[in-house]
Amino acid sequence: MVKARRRRGRFGNRGGLAGYFFVGPSLIFLAVFVILPIMAALYYSFTFYDLMSEPRFVGFDNYAKLFDDLRYPRAVTNTLYFAFGTVPAGVITSLGLAVLINRSIRGIYTFRALFYMPVVSSFVAVSLIWLWMYEPQFGLLNTTFEAIGLPRLKWLRTANTAMLSIIILSIWKNMGLNMVIYLAGLQGIPPHLYEAAEIDGAGGWQRFWRVTFPLLAPTTFFVVIVYFIGALQMFVQVWIMTTQAGNNALTGGPLDSTITVVVLLYSNAFEYLKMGYAAAMSFVLFMIIGLITIINVKVLGYDSFS
């Protein structure tokens, strides 16, 4: 014990001082720009603040207002619709892709790179590209639909399909990301399990359900949680695709059918300058995501993250 401490002292990390010097700058930035803002969100959520005058304490008024705001339940419903629309379909797609490309055949790296391309481009850019493809009159999708005898759709221009169109684009954008995570999971499955299953006479389909799927359960859980948390924060697609030019920027698509929690949060903060109210929305979102994260850590264990 004494010996160990002396050793450390002699070689420059006296009392762990060097450690603090190394982690200090990182921790300071994290504290100032991540942790402090969460506490500030809590503080401002109890105030009325428009950036001009001093914040004024209003108690739980902002939280109470959430129940009166007609757009808030709308935004919550839309956000959940988006999350439940993207996550299951997206996870199945990514798992399918990962199984498809988890083999060493010629050209496999090229295919992996192709599938990953939507992931590395920005949401602003892909939203614009899809906006053009969804264009009702000259857009690629409707012209193709017409050519093969399907009806033209209004896509983003009508309340029925606007969110669905955004869901399709979002699944396409993220399929490669979750594919790579699943691929890492697949490659962690020991090959002898498949050999054993094969000797026992299990076909490809059975091998998938009896070996692959159960062993991927932690990966699936992780992917679902992270994907779901991401979906709760959807903002850019709506901002680019269904906000009408020249109109009040607050519109959340046809009949508010695409307004999400973060779009509403953004507009209250930066259009109406209702900082306190927006902070209350932020904090509610933070609590929900925090809860999901705690469940995540409880189920997967801290080990999965270290």
Binding site: G19, F22, S26, A41, L51, L128, G176, P218, G290
Partner: protein, 307 residues
């Protein structure tokens, strides 16, 4: 033994001769179809960016010759460039490079200490860092904006942070709040843990300081991990929209994603122009990705989801 073991497996696998060929064909056809779906929107946007309004109007699905521009013209690109996209591009490059550099310094120092040095509270601090990974930016953006606006001594503010605009609409405001990188710290800690302990022990016995061990022994071995962080950070910041959108007001400071989003409001139906702008914003990251794709895969493997 080996022969006896492989024999039954191999007979099970060869179920006739034609089957593997059919299977392989199905495999390639389905992979090509999905690859086409993944890439086609970019290709379509690329072709559209060279088309004039007439070309776009003449497009007919049953006439493949209208898929390509009649004449490949760079007019859309020169227009886009003249509409300040050169400036947006340089802003994005400068901001992304600065933040990436900060991430490399902060994440490698902290990651090294969390992996290799002993100090009181290390594990608790590390868990705290990991916990911030789960804090979404959308939650902190409102208070962060207020903090940046009220930053003391900046933009006409007094020491109490009142009176001016703080770091709003400055490069400082664009760059500094993006410095924290829990992900990078985590990634490099994972990497430093894989290096053999003998290396630093040898350096310690030679009397090297902790900083010298980090700088002269550890960093030269971390090329791959630093490359992973570089491409991840650069791509993330280049593509980031929400924060630059909130914090910039003047045209001189806007990043390329903000410029692109505003462009969509201004030129609602000029698709050729919009696609040229989209390509200017997208091609650099696609190019970076194709050059460095093995690092992307490594990065995900390193930050490892243990199945």
């Amino acid at each position: 033994m080996a022969v006896a073991r492989t024999e039954p497996v191999s007979t099970l696998r060869s179920e006739g001769r034609t089957w593997p060929i059919i299977r392989r064909t199905i495999l390639y056809v389905s992979m090509s179809t999905i690859g086409f779906i993944a890439v086609f929107p970019f290709l379509w946007s690329f072709l559209g960016s060279f088309k004039t309004s007439e070309d776009l109007f003449d497009f007919a699905i049953n006439n493949p010759s209208t898929y390509l521009p009649v004449v490949w013209k760079f007019d859309n690109y020169t227009t886009v460039w003249a509409l300040n996209f050169g400036r947006f591009f340089l802003n994005s490059a400068f901001v992304s490079a600065s933040i990436t550099l900060a991430h490399l310094i902060l994440a490698s120092t902290a990651g090294y200490a969390f992996a290799r040095l002993e100090f009181r509270g290390r594990d608790v601090l590390f868990i705290a860092v990991i916990a911030t990974l789960m804090v979404p930016f959308q939650v902190t953006m409102v208070p962060l904006f207020i903090m940046i606006k009220n930053f003391p001594f900046f933009g006409g503010n007094n020491w109490q942070g009142a009176g001016g605009f703080g770091m709003v609409n400055t490069y400082w405001g664009l760059i500094i709040p993006m410095f924290p990188t829990a992900y990078g710290t985590f990634l490099l800690r994972q990497f430093f843990q894989t290096l053999p302990k003998e290396l630093e022990d040898a350096a310690r016995i030679d009397g090297a300081s902790e900083f010298r061990i980090y700088w002269n022994v550890m960093l030269p071995l971390s090329g791959a991990a630093l490359a992973v962080l570089t491409v991840f950070s650069f791509q993330f910041i280049w593509n980031d929209f929400v924060w630059p959108f909130i914090i910039t007001k003047s045209e001189e400071l806007k990043t390329i994603q903000v410029g692109l989003a505003n462009f969509r409001q201004e030129f609602t139906t000029d698709w050729g122009l919009l696609m040229a702008a989209t390509m200017v914003a997208t091609l650099p990251v696609l190019f970076l990705f194709l050059m460095t794709q093995r690092y992307f895969v490594q990065g995900i493997a390193l930050s490892g989801i243990k199945g």
